[in-house]
Amino acid sequence: MKLDLRNGRVEMGHGAGGRAMAQLIAELFAKLLGNDYLAQGDDGAVLPALPGRLVMSTDSHVVSPLFFPGGDIGSLAVNGTVNDVTVMGARPLYLAAAFILEEGYPLAELRRIVESMARAALAAGVLVVTGDTKVVEKGKGDGVFISTTGVGVAREGVTLSGKQARPGDSILLSGSIGEHGTAILSQRAGLAFDASIVSDCAALNGLVEAMLDSGAELRVLRDPTRGGLASTLNELAQQSAAGMLLDEAAIPVIPAVAAACEFLGLDPCYVANEGKLVAICAARDADRLLEVMRRHPLGQNAALIGEVIADSHAFVQMTTRIGGRRILDWLSGEQLPRIC
C-alpha cells in the first residue's frame, strides 16, 4: 500500500522501526530531502574528509504554531542550525535531522514541513545527510518537534568568538529586529493584530561569506535569536568583559513591529530574530563592512548601532531616543515560550 500523503496521519508504526517507518522515510524524507548520502540508507552517513577545522552545532525546534508568516518549523530547523554554524565563521555543509512526531498528525502537513526543509537546505547549500524519526502517543507531543545538527568547515585564518570584543570596536546589526517573535505572537490565539509582520527566518551563510570576503577585521558574529538583541549583546559583553554603548535611534525596527510590541508591552530589543546577526569589528573597518552588508539582500538595512567600551561591569548601555542614558539589561522574568 502506498503512503497516503493526502489524507493519512502519523501512526505509532511510523516510528517503530518496521515497514511503515521504512515507507515513511523512503516516500517522504528520502524523496524530498534526497541526496547520495541520505540514500546510503545506513545507520549513519559516511562523509568525505573535510579540510580544516570543523564546527558543529545543534538546536531543537519546538515552535508553536508550526506554520507562521515567513516560515515554518521546517525552514526554521534548517536555518537555525545553518546560522549557528555560520556565525562561527564556518561554511555549513551537512545537517542531521531528528523528528519527533505526534500520533495523528496529518501526513499532508508533515510533507509541507519536509518540503520547506528541502527548499531551505537547497537555498543554504547544505545537505541533510542523516536523520531519525520517533512517534509519541497522541497528546504527548505537539505535532512536530525537529532537532537539527550541523557541521561546517571553518574558514582558514578566521577565528570568531564572543570573547573577542575590545573597547573601541564597532557593533553592527544586519537589519531590523523583532520580526520573528512578533510574527509568531501574531499567530497565537487571541492576538490578531497586524498580519503584515513576516518572520525574518533565513540562512545567513551567504551574507557572512560576503562579510568574511571583505577582509574586514571581524571579531565576533552572533545571531540574536531567543532573548533578542539585548540578550545577545549582554552575553557578548560578559564574555568579552567589556561594556557597550548603543544608540537606540540607530537600531532598525519596522513600524509594524514597533506597534505590535507597544500593544503587547514588549521591547523589540528582547524579541527573537531568526535571520539577523550582530557583528563586532575593528572600528576602522566598520564603514567598509557595513557597505558589504548592505549590498547583500539580507543586510540591506544593516546599521552601526554602537561601540564596545571599557567597563569592568560589562553593562550594555544605551543612549535613548530622547537623549538620556540607560542600561539595556538581560531579560529578566519570563521569555516568550516556544518561539523557535
Binding site: A249, P255, A258, A259, E262, D311, H313, F315, Q317, T319, T320, R321, I322, G323, G324, R325, R326, I327, D329, S332, G333, E334
Partner: protein, 369 residues
Amino acid sequence: MKFIDEFRDGDLARHLAAGIVREARTDRVYRLMEFCGGHTHAISRYGLTDLLPPAVRMIHGPGCPVCVLPIGRIDQAIRLALEQGVMLCSYGDCLRVPASSGLSLQQAKAHGADVRMVYSISDAVQLAQQNPQHDIVFLAIGFETTTPPTAVAVRQADALGLKNFSVLCNHVLTPAAMRAILAIDGVQLDGIVGPAHVSTVIGSRPYETFAADYGKPVVIAGFEPLDVLQAILMLLRQINGARAEVENEFTRAVTRDGNHKAQALIEAVFEMRDSFEWRGLGSIPKSALKLRAAYARFDAEARYGVDYRAVPDRPGCECAAILRGEKRPRDCRIFATACTPEDPVGSCMVSPEGACAAHYTYGRFREQE
C-alpha cells in the same frame, strides 16, 4: 506608529529639556515627586534625568500598586491558598512579592498551594465558571484604574450566580496617599507630577485641595517621556511664578471631572474602608475600598474570615522610606546585592514600576560613576 513616536521624539525632548534648563534657577533646588510608578518607569527607561539640570531632583512617589501593598496583605492571600485550599489568582508581579517567612505566593505554590497567574480579573471569573468544584479567589490590587474592572467582574459573577468566586480586595485611593505624603513632618516637596491613568478615572478635581490647602503645584502628566518633561517644565514655571495650581498636561485623556461611568461603577460596588495599612505610609484613614454589603458574599476577607495582621518589613529593606520619598534605591544597603529583580527582598524590586526595579534595570550603571 506616529501616535507613539510623537511622544518620544528626540528633537522635541531636547527642546523641552533646554526650556527646563532656562527655567530652572541655579540658586535653588526643585524637589519634584513623580507620584506614579508609570512615571518612575518612564524616567528610568528613557534616562530622563540626564536631560535635567542638577537643580531639578526627581523623587519617586508611592504610586506603584504592588509596592504599597504591605506584607500582611500578601500573607492573607497565602493563608487563603495554603490553609483554605482556594485557587488563588493574581497578576504575575503580585505572585513574586516576598511575604512572611520568606514565602511569596509563587513559593507557596511550590508548597502545594493552587496559585494561578492571570492577565485580568475576567480570567479569574472564567476559571470560576470552568471549575465549579473549586473556590476561586482573586487578589485584587491597584489604584482607581484597576478598580472599575474589579467592579465589573463582581457584577458579572453576581449575574452569573457564581458561588465559588470572591475577591481579596486591596484597592487603594490615590488622593489619600498624596495627602499622607504631604502630611509627613518636614516633607520637602516643591511640586507633584500627577497620575496619568488614575486621573482619567477620577479627573483632576481631587488634586485641587493639594494646590489650595497645601500650596503644592500639581501637573497631571501622561506616561510618555515628553509628557514627563513637559510636566516638569510646567511645574518649574508654577514654582518660579509662586503659583500653586492643578494643571493638566495630559489633556488628551484627562478632564476635570473624570469618567463618570467608571466612578458610578466603583460607587455601586465598593465602599470606603475606615482605614487601611500601606507599606511605607502606615495606616491611612479612608484610603482604601471594600465591597459593599450587597456584594459581601464576594468578599474573600469576610467569607473566609482571614483577618489582616500587620507584619514588619524585612530587616535591611528600605522600601518604606523609599515609598515616602525619603530615600532612594541606592540608599538601601542591599540594593543590587541581596536584593535583585530575580530574587527580590522588598516589594519595590518586584514590579517594573517599583523604584528599585526601575533603577536596577535601567540606571544601575550610575552607581559606578
